[in-house]
Every structure is written in C-alpha cells, then in structure tokens.
C-alpha cells in the first residue's frame, strides 16, 4: 500500500475532453476515483488549432475530474491522435558475439539499438518504438537471452508525429501546472481495453472511430504491428448529412444519433421521417434512405482507406480475432456489418471490461480508459523508483498535495 499514486488520463478529442482520475493501489490494482468531461474547443481532427480555447476546455475537465475525485492528480498520461501521426517498420540485426553462441544482454542491446537507429524526418518526434519480436537464426523467440544462435534480429514499429502538434498538447497540460508522464497512441490505448490478451495474441485489428479521426492498430502475436490514423471521423458524417440534406449541423447530428445506420436496407427506401416532428416552419420529411446513403458512403470510405493502408496485412487468416470497433462512432447501427463487408474480416463492436464503471463503459471512453490502464502498467515498471519517495509522497497525499 506504500506506492499508492493518483494518475490522470487525458484525451483531448475533437468533440470532448475526457479526464479520468485513477488511484493505483500497490502497483497492482487501479481504482477509477474521478472523472471530468468538457466540450472540446479549439481542436480540429485531433489537432489543436486554438491553444487558448483548447486550454480552457482541458483545464475545466481536469478541474472537474479532480473535484469529483477529491484529490489532485500527480501525473498525467495523455492520448495522442491526429492526422500528423505516422509510422514505419524497421529491422535491426547483430551477430551473436560470444564464441559459444549464447546470446548475451549486450547482443540484444546492440540489435535493438540498430533497429532504433533511424532518425525520424525533420520536425518530427517519435511517440513509440514498439517491439515486434526477436528472431534468432530466423525463428521467432520471445526472449533470446542465453539462447544459442548466430544472428539475432528484431523488428520495430515506430510511431512518430509532428513535433509542434505534440508539443501543443503537452503545453496545454503544462499550463495547468501538470507534467506529462507519457503519451500513448489513441488506437493502442483503445486496443488495451476492447481487445483482450488472447485476441491480441491471435491477431486483431482495433479501429477507434472518433469524432475527428479514426485510429487503428493491428495486432499480430500480441504486438502492435501497424498503427494509423484516418483523418475522417463521426464529425464528417454529421457534415455530410448537413450538406447533403441541407439542414443545420445540430439537426444533422440529431438525425445521425437517432436514425443513423451504416448500411442501406431495401426496406428503408420508402421510409421517411420528419425533420423536427412538430410541424413548425421548416419542418419537412426526409427520406431515411437518403440519410443511410450519405452515412454509408462515408463509413465505407473510412473502412476502404484503412483497407488500402493495411494492404496485405489485412488478411483474415492473420487476424482470426477479427476487427473490433470502438470510439463514439462505433455506436452507429450496423457499422460492424459494413466493416465486415468492406474489410472482409469479421467485425464486432468492442466493449470495455466489466470492471469499468458503468458511466464510462461506452466504447467512446475506450481510449482514455486504455491510457489509464497503461498508467497502471507504467507504474509497475517504475515501482522501484517510487518507493524511494514513498514517505514524502504519502505525506503530500495526506495533505492533498499533488
């Protein structure tokens, strides 16, 4: 119980800012003790375009979260999304140095350093280096140390982003007097929640359809093999409806939420709905078929882009656990059906674990929950460092200091 910590998970999304406050108890369990939420401002497609507005919205959400938790956040884990994110795969290899052919720690470090050697393009910074597994003389091994072989190889998936855009998000958090402990890709965070370990080991594609962007993460053998961000999200569906049906965004959003569906059924063609439903001026009938057609087109586009980006990696045999949808837009009716049709892989809408509070169990909270979960695992690895400061931290906690 000596290493209790209060951590905060923050997602600065296009439609809303969500902050979860978690209490890491003894580096083993996590209690969600507070939550704050505010309407996002100054954020477009996951990127900050108005620093002041984004700061106000984020800080209001943090304040609300701290108030509901009755404590102050000690460290922050931040989700990262946006079209600026990109990734590439690299290999590193080294010959085993020992004469007896046993792999030493130095050999592993040398192989890993070799894989990470490549610098990101100018103006960009790495977000993650994700280890995709070692190969010793061509055979896959989890931990090659003290195994016998001649040549050690390792594959890494590197995620990088625009330095200024990443720095904007960090400085929004800094502006509240908090330091960012780590940044986690939104799709990876969602994957932690909606895909269990078995699914990740057997292979699964997690697609998080948010308001401004759609993030995906492809898992092979329990590792993140590919990630990506499509700059289209639920907000585009609303825009399309607004323009296509010539109605306001507000009404378009209502139509999407009430009647939205990702596929067009033959029976829907003749159905119509009233725009307002109160026969006031401007109220008119709108064909459901038109709504579905517009939504379907955009949803199909999203999945098509993902399919194109993943290319050969999107093989139903490689991802037997199928596709899992998460994010706010995954609540759209029959979206899994459309995904299955376009991607050619069985799709289901993901669910957050049962241990999660009911108020945050919806798929739209997957990524922020995932970040909080990531914070727990990060605390486990940093456990030894924390114990040194345990007494002071305990005192600070008693006095409710951050």
């Amino acid at each position: 119980m000596g290493n209790d910590r209060i951590i905060g998970a923050i997602e600065i999304g296009t439609s809303k800012v969500v902050v979860l406050v978690g209490e890491v108890v003894g580096d083993r369990s996590l209690n969600i003790v507070g939550m704050g939420q505010s309407t996002s401002m100054g954020v477009r497609k996951g990127e900050i375009v108005n620093f002041g507005a984004a700061s106000n919205a984020t800080h209001a959400a943090i304040m609300a979260a701290e108030k509901s938790a009755g404590t102050t956040i000690e460290m922050v884990y931040l989700t990262q999304t946006g079209g600026h994110l990109d990734g590439f795969f690299s290999f590193g290899a080294a010959n085993v140095s020992a004469s007896d052919g046993l792999v030493l720690r130095a050999d592993i470090e040398s192989t890993v350093a070799n894989a990470k050697r490549k610098q990101p393009p100018p103006g960009r910074v790495y977000i993650h280096h994700i280890n995709n597994g070692f190969r010793l003389d061509g055979r896959a091994v989890d931990d090659p140390q003290t195994m016998k072989g001649e040549r050690l190889e390792v594959g890494y998936w590197h995620v990088h982003g625009d330095e200024r855009k990443v720095s904007d998000q960090i400085h929004v958090i800094n502006g509240f007097g908090l330091q960012v402990q780590d940044i986690i890709l939104s799709s990876i965070a969602s994957g932690c929640m909606v895909a269990d370990e078995e699914a990740r080991k057997s292979g699964v594609l997690v697609i998080d359809i948010g308001c401004g962007t759609t993030d995906y993460a492809l898992y092979f053998n329990g590792c993140v093999a590919r990630t990506g961000v499509v700059r289209i999200g639920g907000d585009h569906l609303t825009n399309d409806l607004s323009i296509g049906l010539r109605i306001s965004r507000k009404h378009a959003e209502n139509l999407k939420l009430q009647f939205g569906k990702a596929v067009i059924d033959k029976s829907d063609k003749n159905d119509a709905i009233w725009l307002f439903g109160d026969l006031t001026i401007g109220d008119r009938k709108i064909s459901k078929g038109a709504i579905y057609q517009i939504i379907h087109a955009r949803v199909e586009e999203i999945f098509s882009i993902i399919k194109r980006e993943l290319g050969d990696h999107l093989d139903p045999h490689k991802i037997p656990a199928g596709v899992i949808l998460s994010g706010g837009c995954s609540g759209l009716r029959k979206i899994a059906e459309e995904s299955t049709r376009v991607l050619g892989v069985t799709t289901r809408v993901g669910e957050n674990p049962a241990w999660v509070l009911e108020s945050v169990r919806q798929p739209e909270y997957s990524s922020v929950l995932g970040v909080l979960y990531y914070g727990l695992t990060a605390q486990r690895t940093a456990g030894s460092e924390q114990s040194e400061r345990g007494i002071f931290r305990k005192m600070a906690r008693m006095l409710n200091f951050a």
């Binding site: 106000n56 102050t72 490549k118 910074v125 790495y126 800094n174 502006g175 951050a402």
Partner: protein
C-alpha cells in the same frame, strides 16, 4: 526490450525532447485558481509545520534541556583609560581614588549619569561632564568651585578641621589644595554651619561677602592681601544669630567694620579713605568703622588725630 513493449531510445528524437513548461506556469483561470489554492495550502501547512517544530523544540528543551541564562552583552571594548581634565586642582589620581571604577569594565556598561552624580556630590565639584571616547576611553571634565575663605569647625569628636567656602557659600574639604594656597584665604567667622548626614549645607546669602572680597582683590589688592579674618556679628557682642555687621581684620587697616545693608557704598567709601590716608602718609590704620550712620570713624596712629570722623 521485450516483445510487444513500447519504449524510447536515447539516441533517437523521442517526444521527450520537447521541453515541458515549468509546473508553475498557469495559462487559464482554472489553472491560476488551482495554483493559488496550492500555494495557500502550502503556506498553511508550512506555518503549521513550523509551529509544531517550535512547540516540539520548546517541549524538548523544557523536559531535557538545562536552564540557561541568556544575557545581553554590551557592545564595545573594556575601559582602558580615562582622559581627566579639570579647571582646578583635582587630578586623575583623585578621580581614581574617589570613583574606583572596576578594571576591565565594559565601556558601554558604565552608567554615566550615576558617575556624574557621584562626582557632583563632592562640594568642590561644581559640574562634571562625562562622555565615552570609543572604543575604550572615558572623557571626564570637571568644573571646580573656587574657594575664597576658609572656616574652622569643630567636629563631633572635638577635633578641629578647616573647610573651604566658595563664592556661592558651598562648604567643602578642599582636596589637593596646598597649605600655601589655604594660607592665602581669610578665615570666616561668626557664621552658623549646618551639617547634614553626608555634607554641609551652603551658607545662605553669602554672595555679597564673597563679592566684597573679590572686588577688593581687584581694586585694593595690597589691602585685600592682608585681610585675614572676616567676622560676622550683630551689633552686640553676642554670637551672631542674625548678623548685620561684618568685621574684617588684618593688613593695612587692622579692623574694618561694615554694615551688611549696603556693602557696595561702604566699600567705595573705604577705598576713598584708604587712598586719602595713604596719600597722607599714614603707615597703618587701627580701625575704620563704616557701619556708623552719617559718617565713618577712622582710628589711626600718632601723627594724625587718633580718631577722625569723616563725612
């Protein structure tokens, strides 16, 4: 570095190269409010901590500590010298014997007012001014009373002793006055000396007698030098309870009698008479009585009528 792990590399450009702003920088009202709240809480907790620490320390000392007297130490170095000066006969030795300042007393530890009072208790000292001369000296300036007369009194044990009388009637023993200096002062008789526990009270209304002597020393120094006794008495031969007559004996005029009412007029007349007599070649005069109403009686030797009454 295990499979599936995410990590950062020290060699590559990680997001951690982005410099995070200091924790104290607040950009929104919410952040400022939180920061203010934090500092208020910090100040409160710090005060509480300091208070508890103080109470704890006090309690510890109270229980385990030995009582210790804390005293203020006067600044400045110990007294090493006294710069003594006087307009009279008193000197540094007299000062040391009289005052007895302890050695190595801190300069700032000397009570100047007490010392001044101690010095001025001596009748011979009219006024004493004392000041510190940093770092280690004391300046003492004495204004002494000038004695004009001497007076012989009988102490309680019956022994006779001489006191000196200053112009203002103050009586004092007259330390450091030589025998010769004392011999030059006329005796004063016929006055009542009142002694208190420590001292003698000054003689009342003594100024006119002192002025007479001082003026005589200026205007008829030859005559005044010979004056040996000033005796006060009333008209009868009984001891002077309320004296109204002054008899001055000695010198050119053996006895001069003044009435105390108008000494200045009588003195002027005396000077005229003496000049006249000296001009006449009278070698000595037995008596000049200036106390008579309407004239002066002069009693001379054989060459002149023995008693003349001058108007």
């Amino acid at each position: 570095m295990k499979k599936g792990e995410t990590s950062q590399s020290a060699d590559s450009r990680d997001w951690r190269v982005i410099r995070q702003s200091p924790a104290g920088k607040a950009v929104t009202d919410a952040a400022r409010r939180r920061r203010r709240h934090f500092f208020l809480k910090l100040a409160g907790v710090s005060s509480l901590f300091v208070g508890l620490l103080g109470v704890g320390t006090y309690a510890f000392l109270f229980v385990f500590g030995e009582s210790e007297i804390w005293s203020m130490k006067a600044p400045g170095e110990p007294l090493r010298s006294v710069n003594f000066s006087s307009n009279g006969v008193l000197d540094n030795v007299w000062f040391q014997e009289t005052v007895e300042l302890p050695l190595q007393v801190p300069l700032m530890g000397i009570d100047l007012f007490a010392l001044k009072g101690q010095l001025e208790k001596f009748g011979q000292v009219k006024e004493a001014s004392i000041s510190r001369a940093f770092p280690d000296a004391l300046n003492v300036e004495i204004d002494e009373r000038e004695p004009l007369f001497r007076i012989r009194i009988r102490a309680q044990g019956g022994a006779l002793s001489d006191l000196l009388v200053a112009r203002d009637g103050t009586l004092f023993e007259g330390d450091r006055f030589s025998r010769k200096a004392r011999a030059g002062m006329p005796y004063l008789g016929g006055v009542r000396v009142v002694q208190t526990e420590e001292d003698f009270l000054p003689l009342p209304e003594f100024d006119q007698i002192a002025s007479l002597l001082l003026e005589a020393r200026q205007r008829i120094p030859g005559v005044a030098r010979g004056w040996q006794v000033f005796h006060l008495q009333d008209g009868s031969s009984a001891p002077a309870v309320y004296p109204n007559t002054l008899r001055v004996r000695g010198g050119y005029v053996f006895e001069t009698v003044f009435k105390l009412d108008s000494l200045a007029v009588q003195f002027d007349r005396l000077i005229e008479i003496i000049h006249y007599l000296q001009k006449q070649g009278v070698p000595s005069v037995k008596k000049i009585d200036l106390s008579l109403t309407g004239g002066v009686a002069v009693q001379t030797g054989s060459s002149l009528p023995s008693l003349r009454l001058l108007n």
